[in-house]
């Protein structure tokens, strides 16, 4: 493995770690900064994803829509206090791609587990799944140009407020 790839893999590992920490620490206002301005972000069930059905539980086609999502969560929507704990692992190039960066970005997948902790302390396995992502280098940092959080289950317990 050449040194450049080692460095790239460490950078990408860090990107995912920071992404999960940002959401878990309730720093939602910083969350859109992980994305490019013209990004696409969806939370979608594996059932829809594999059937080629486009519907996302969250469906955004710009960073500004992510800004709006955070604003609505903070100012308009009503939900019980809750936090997440993300475990993100098994980051690897999507099938048929490599860790090499040809200048146009990388296609990656990563597994996630999200535990949801309610204000009374009840913790539950809220979501499992995989990210199907495209990252690009922008102003010296990796950003998500596309992120699909593909949920293994078709069922959401109660509601999905905080993004995955």
């Amino acid at each position: 493995m050449e040194l450049g790839e080692v460095v790239r893999r460490l950078e990408i590992e860090s990107l995912y770690a920071e992404y999960g920490h940002c959401l878990d620490a309730d720093r939602l206002e910083e969350w859109p900064d992980f994305f490019t301005e013209d990004c696409a972000y969806r939370v979608i069930s594996a059932e829809n994803f594999e059937a080629g059905l486009p519907l996302g539980i969250i469906y955004a086609t710009s960073r500004n829509m992510l800004v709006d999502r955070v604003m609505a969560l903070r100012r308009a929507n009503i939900y019980e206090p809750q936090r997440y704990r993300h475990l993100i692992a098994n980051i690897r190039p999507l099938n048929g791609t490599t860790w090499q960066d040809d200048g146009t970005g990388l296609d990656l997948s990563a597994n996630f587990i999200v535990v949801r902790i309610m204000q009374d302390g009840a913790a539950s396995l809220f979501a499992t799944g995989r990210y199907v992502d495209r990252i690009v280098r922008h102003d010296g940092a990796w950003k998500f140009a596309r992120k699909d959080a593909v949920l293994d289950s078709r069922q959401i317990d109660t509601l999905l407020a905080i993004p995955i």
């Binding site: 519907l55 539980i57 969250i58 086609t61 800004v67 929507n77 939900y79 019980e80 959401i156 109660t158």
Partner: protein
């Protein structure tokens, strides 16, 4: 209802005892009397089963049901329970099969639910097997009546349910036809587990009073306000309803409306969307109705919010648990821009919906709050005591209509 349930309050439909949402005896009785009683329940979209052999499984209440496209091209529905020893016949959520074969002992049914073969029926070497008196034709799957309305397939196990078109009625039927104006194209599905009795969600759907108060996104971004024109249409019998918002004009003017809603926190902030394409809707239905929420008793909902169209099915899963299934629709002749518009507007609804996520939780809040207060009652007096159509949404008339339809079935 005969088991330990006190008489209904004398105020009638404007009081609902909280035990209706938590009592296991009430729940058990309504599985039989409402869901297996003379009601029609949504099963599938006809377009979900395009080819003979396509099938999907669903429920009448908690009773599992198979819906098939038969060799005759018609939609059939049967209880998903083998006539032999009661096993589930179809295990998959949906699929395609030439015949329906139970995995337990390989009893096999045709797509209409008729028993066609029994493994080792004649025994082996003259020993064992079924008696000669056993007749295949006496042991099919239990069949539902099915009927189609505007491409929506409904089913019932009751011979006493009136014809589907009569059950839906002209008033509400026309409002279904208004939304389902083309060949549907499914954009996706999702499902929510709600920690509340199914009727709390159905009440919420019929509750035109709460929508712009609980869902402040509605109000803040002027998607819908009570001050806009609108009303509720309630079918004779009370159980079916359609509420509508005339979004183009506000009855008290923009400033008057802002004043009436001034106590809502997010209103005061003067919030604006950074990317307002979410609210970029187009006129689609030939009228000025921007929001229409419609229900067919007991558990079917058809929603139009701007250009976002979805079917919702409310499935009981116990006295205090409900599955809410969503099917999001467009139409076969939508262009790419229209599909994208519907997908963006789908952010308004569903488990993460800007104007619906609260509905996933508020029923659970009620469910928690009523513990120990089973003999007390909720108050449904907004808009009076009747359950007739009204030209306002500042009313609980359609919720009273639900209880008007529900109580006779339950003997309450």
């Amino acid at each position: 209802m005969d088991r330990h349930v006190p008489a209904w309050p004398q105020e009638g439909n404007s009081r609902v005892p909280y035990r209706m949402f938590s009592d296991p005896d009430v729940y058990r009785a309504e599985l039989d009397r409402v869901f297996l009683g003379p009601t029609w329940q949504f099963l599938v979209l006809a377009d979900e089963l395009p080819a003979p052999g396509d099938y999907k499984t669903t429920f009448l209440g908690e009773t599992p049901v198979i819906v098939t496209r038969g060799a005759d091209g018609r939609v059939h529905a049967m209880v998903n329970r083998c006539a032999h020893r009661g096993n589930l016949v179809c295990l998959k959520h949906q699929g395609h099969a030439e015949a329906l074969t139970c995995v337990y002992h390989s009893w096999s049914y045709d797509l209409d639910g008729n028993l066609k073969s029994v493994a080792f029926r004649r025994g082996i070497g003259g020993k064992g097997g079924m008696p000669d008196s056993f007749r295949l034709e006496d042991h099919g799957l239990r069949k539902l009546r099915t009927d189609d309305f505007a491409g929506l397939v409904f089913g019932t196990l009751s011979p006493d349910a009136p014809p589907l078109a009569d059950y839906i009625g002209n008033l509400i039927g026309a409002r279904i036809g208004r939304v389902l104006h083309g060949k549907p194209k499914i954009l996706g599905t999702t499902s929510q587990i709600l920690h509340n009795n199914w009727k709390l969600y159905v009440e919420n759907v019929k509750d035109t009073y709460h929508a712009t108060l609980l869902h402040t996104f509605f109000t803040t971004f002027r998607v819908s306000r009570l001050t806009a024109g609108g009303g509720v249409l309630i079918a004779e019998g009370g159980g079916n309803h359609a509420s509508y918002t005339r979004g183009k004009h506000d009855t008290v003017g923009r400033e008057g409306s802002d004043k009436l809603y001034a106590d809502i926190q997010s209103m005061r902030d003067g919030l604006r969307l950074a990317d307002p394409r979410l609210l970029d809707s187009v006129e689609e239905f030939g009228d000025d109705v921007t929001v229409q929420i419609l229900s067919v008793f007991p558990n079917f909902v058809l929603q139009q919010i701007n250009n976002s169209i979805a079917l919702r099915l409310v499935l009981p899963k116990g006295p205090a648990e409900t599955e809410l299934q969503w099917i999001y629709l467009g139409f076969a002749d939508d262009d790419a821009a229209m599909t994208e518009r519907r997908l963006l507007q789908s952010n308004l609804v569903g488990p993460a919906g800007y104007v619906s996520m609260e509905d996933g939780a508020v029923g659970g809040f009620v469910q928690r709050a009523i513990v120990g207060s089973e003999n007390e009652c909720s108050i449904l007096e907004m808009g009076g005591h009747e359950h007739a159509s009204q030209e306002t949404r500042t009313t609980e008339a359609s919720i009273r209509g639900f209880w008007q339809a529900y109580r006779p079935l339950m003997g309450l």
